[in-house]
Symmetry: C2
Subunit: 576 residues, 2 copies
């Protein structure tokens, strides 16, 4: 017990730790506190009936992919009581905190009665609440958000009760929960309308990376309504019959799922004078202590230290909550623990046959945060192309210019996105650069990767740009004004022309050196190929043949056609 | 061309780069040199007919998993000539180097004639040669090693020519190539005898991690002969008919594959006075320059800087060769490049339905290198247990004690080993600790991981040990002399008892606090459960209840039964 020395004011064995909220870190805190101290009294207050469950699994139970509901119960109250000797009190709402007296007022939801509880250490895990916009009809039966098992059971019952021919749903919000719900409802035979205020799905991604997910949703039959807001819910006899959108669109639906974000439950904390930070979350230090060092806070209601900016971020995800809870539980009973490491904003979602994953800052977020940043995007096999089952992965690195420090990464593809983003999240944790990424020694055998993994390839692109060897042009750039050279073979060009209003000169790479005379070396030139590899070779040839400015179109015709589907849709400026 | 400034003694445009050997880095060097310099003359000498091919794919073509042979040709001579303007000279052997004159003597293998070639920069990529032990009968037809496409074609032809009833093969060496060949030969209907001098398969792994692969091999019908050497090859009319092993075993077989290691081809380098290092590989600096700065060396013949020890290591793998070649090509023509980053010894192999992957040092290797090290092993799902398709992954971290610096990691399992080892190889690259690992922010959604990923769980075990909260005992330890407590349920214990000759007291974890009186708190105690999680809880209870010494058996009964299959096989000392 040498680790408890620092709590010198405390009589060992007398300590009481009260934890508010089991989900999102609270149960982890309780378990860890017990493992660190058999002597402490540990009380866990939970407003709901379920004290710890896998909220990330809820959409999959609604869709039937996770069959047994019981599997979602991570730690039952019984387990916490029996194994961890936690005094679990369900249906118990924390009403107010008296910091001076070190007490908390608790309401029994069953009968409304209240009582005071004293504490030596308090750990707050109040979570976050779904945002419910105050729209006409929003309280109609059939409008749901998905916060806990009660919500899940209601939605599942509504899904099962809907007759086959009437299965139409509106999902508001194309973020992580929205996409998971859209997928699972399609699985249940629903026609799904996905409504998103932003002009793209998955707003945490850059637009150019989100298009792969958009295309997958469309291909799976999801009806997208991007750049539109839910305006009102129409009801018949108190039940949802449809919605109207901000552009006047009317949609019939018997089910509306709200996935438009969450708001941290900070009321209890702010009412007793605890500080919140710029993001609106409870402010904490590296030991999860709030502005009152005897009160800790973890989970969706806090703002964590955020690696890429050195600032703070709210992350409503289970991973950070779990780690934070564990450390808070330890620190509360021991007085010392390891420091909580900054979050990187790492997240992932499966969308039918595709995956989207990200860590750190997108280009958009990096610019908003004031970084001079650039990006490098590659389209490459998730494993050796010569081995069966190779599928394409699109990987984008965002890095600070000219230091090369990695700021973030995004990946989409059918396989292998999680691995690359985990590797890059690890690089972020160490403040590494794209040169570090280029030098990583990763697993390679044909079934698992390539001698040049996509993370290496992307890093090579970035290093070339840093070294002045291969400047890139954003995939959605307006190409007019440039001399545009497509260095693919004639057959490739014919099959999938580069989408631009600009005139394109097609010269296959292997003929480029002999046909330089067909180009004007004084003009700013853009080279493009299938994904950018041959274009880099062409760029090198041109730059060393007297061409002044040569840019490589990011992702070549493949990515261009995803982002700029027709020549007419070419941007007239602006960058992704 | 600002990057060429440093080669001030050189007249641009006059430079000639000669590269010896295309495979294992040479072709990468050639391509990169060209991208960095259109002006340089680049000559690639290749002794064989194929200048660049995916040697990692060869076993899979033999087994028919990669159907088209042409897919293995990564960069044809034609491509290198046409696209990169490389002067490719196949069937051309480098005979000797005159460093003072800066010339190389080349023999045309077609007619034996020789000529001199001058160079400004020389890049050596001579590769490595399979070790062929000088055994009786070793030159018989039917004994093969697998170095290049010619070997592959021969083996494939031999496989196809063998009648169904006669398909028996001996594979000597249970390393990476040996295991891949064993798998592919089973795929082709062969009875496969796998002979390995060490007492375990995959000697780079610790014994306790290799058993999962051993068990998979046995289950797939491979006949293992561990701890035995090939003694002689028996032949009939010049063709293999079988082998005898060091223990007298006679095996009939029509095919023998040698996979017992490679020897770096350093002859050309040492003959001209270039230095080799302690591992026998060509000594290089961070820019791949040999002891003669105008001569570079890359690939299987060199010794790379090795991250975990700060020393050097030979790594005959495509990833480092590719990266080294790329940098050497750049540095040769530009005079500057990024530094080559140390290798971590990251490697992976698929063995039927299992994967084994590793990076850095095993416990055995770490001890040999003089480290005071400990390890942490967990058995955990590759993704959330409540999501369909979860399979168990065994992950072992090796770290320096008490600094916590990560020294290496090993993983086995049906899925997800590559991702974890890539993440941990990245931590190694930054010299990170197990505390860094515990704080990583990794992707989590039910199909991809867990809120507590196996890498976190393993790091938690290590941190507990570092903090004096949970000392571990090696899985194969002799338990006699300990008070052994199994905290699983009675049903679990009955189904899979802990394999030990020691007496075991079974007390389910949830009853432990009430039944402490059944144990002797003064005795050194070992706790065990299914995989180690409940045992940790038990350990914490006992340690805080007056027990002096409590150790948690690594991997619990699950790993114990793999490593110590019966009580009688219990070690009488010694550690894995």
């Amino acid at each position: 017990m040498f680790l408890t020395d620092r709590w010198d004011e405390m009589t060992e064995g007398m300590m009481r730790v009260v934890i508010v909220g089991g989900v999102a870190g609270g149960a982890s805190a309780a378990a860890r506190a017990r493992r660190c101290s058999e002597a402490a009294e540990i009380i866990l207050l939970e407003r709901d009936g379920d004290v710890s469950f896998a909220n990330c699994g809820m959409p999959y139970h609604i869709g039937g992919e996770i069959v047994e509901r019981s599997k979602l119960v991570v730690a039952s109250a019984q387990l916490l009581r029996r194994r961890f000797r936690i005094d679990v009190r369900e249906q118990s709402e924390a009403v107010s905190i008296d910091r001076a007296a070190r007490t908390i007022r608790v309401r029994r939801l069953a009968d409304g009665s209240e009582y005071e509880l004293s504490w030596d250490r308090l750990i707050l895990s109040p979570g976050a609440a779904p945002v419910i916009p105050p729209l006409p009809g929003i309280t109609a039966t059939g409008v749901y958000s998905l916060r806990n098992l009660v919500d899940m059971d209601r939605i599942r019952a509504a899904v099962e009760a809907t007759a086959d021919g009437l299965r139409t749903a509106v999902v508001a919000g194309a973020g992580f929960i929205g996409l998971e719900m859209a997928e699972q409802l399609v699985r249940k035979g629903f026609v799904v309308h996905l409504v998103e205020l932003q002009s793209q799905v998955l707003p945490p991604l850059d637009m150019d990376m989100s298009v792969a997910i958009r295309d997958e949703l469309i291909q799976q039959g999801v009806r997208l309504h991007l750049g539109r807001a839910l305006k009102s819910v129409t009801e018949q006899s108190g039940c949802v019959s449809g919605v109207s959108l901000s552009d006047g669109t009317q949609l019939s639906a018997s089910l509306v799922i709200l996935g438009i974000g969450v708001r941290p439950n900070v009321g209890l904390a702010t009412a007793c004078g605890l500080e919140t930070g710029p993001t609106g979350g409870i402010r904490i230090n590296e030991f999860l202590q709030t502005s009152d060092p005897h009160i800790y806070a973890v989970g969706d209601a806090v703002e964590y230290p955020y690696g890429p900016t050195g600032g703070a971020a709210r992350v409503a995800l289970a991973g950070p909550a779990n780690r934070a809870g564990r450390l808070a539980g330890e620190h509360a009973v021991c007085g010392v623990s390891a420091a909580f490491r900054p979050v990187q904003g790492t997240a992932i979602v499966r969308v039918f046959g595709q995956t989207a994953a990200l860590t750190g800052l997108s280009v958009r977020a990096a610019r908003r945060a004031g970084f001079n940043c650039r990006s490098a995007t590659v389209i490459a096999g998730q494993h050796a192309g010569y081995f069966p089952g190779a599928v394409m992965l699109t990987l984008k690195l965002v890095y600070e210019y000219p230091s090369g420090r990695l700021l973030g990464a995004q990946a989409t593809g059918a396989d292998g996105a999680d691995k690359r983003i985990d590797v890059l999240a690890t690089v972020l944790a160490f403040g590494g650069t794209v040169r570090d990424v280029a030098g990583l020694d990763l697993c390679y055998a044909p079934p698992f990767g390539s001698a040049r993994d996509p993370v290496h390839q992307a890093a090579f692109v970035a290093c070339n740009e840093l070294d002045g060897r291969g400047a890139m042009l954003d995939v959605d750039a307006d190409l007019s004004g440039f001399q545009v050279v497509d260095v693919r073979t004639a057959a490739e060009v014919a099959k999938a022309p580069l989408t631009t209003r600009a005139q394109v000169t097609a010269i296959p790479l292997d003929e480029l050196r002999e046909r330089l005379g067909e180009l004007d070396s004084s003009r700013p030139t853009v080279v493009s190929c299938g994904v950018g590899v041959r274009a880099h070779a062409a760029q090198r040839i041109l730059l060393q043949s007297g061409f002044r400015e040569v840019l490589n179109l990011t992702g070549g015709a493949t990515l261009r056609r995803r982002v700029v589907p027709t020549a007419d849709s070419e941007s007239t400026g602006g960058q992704s």
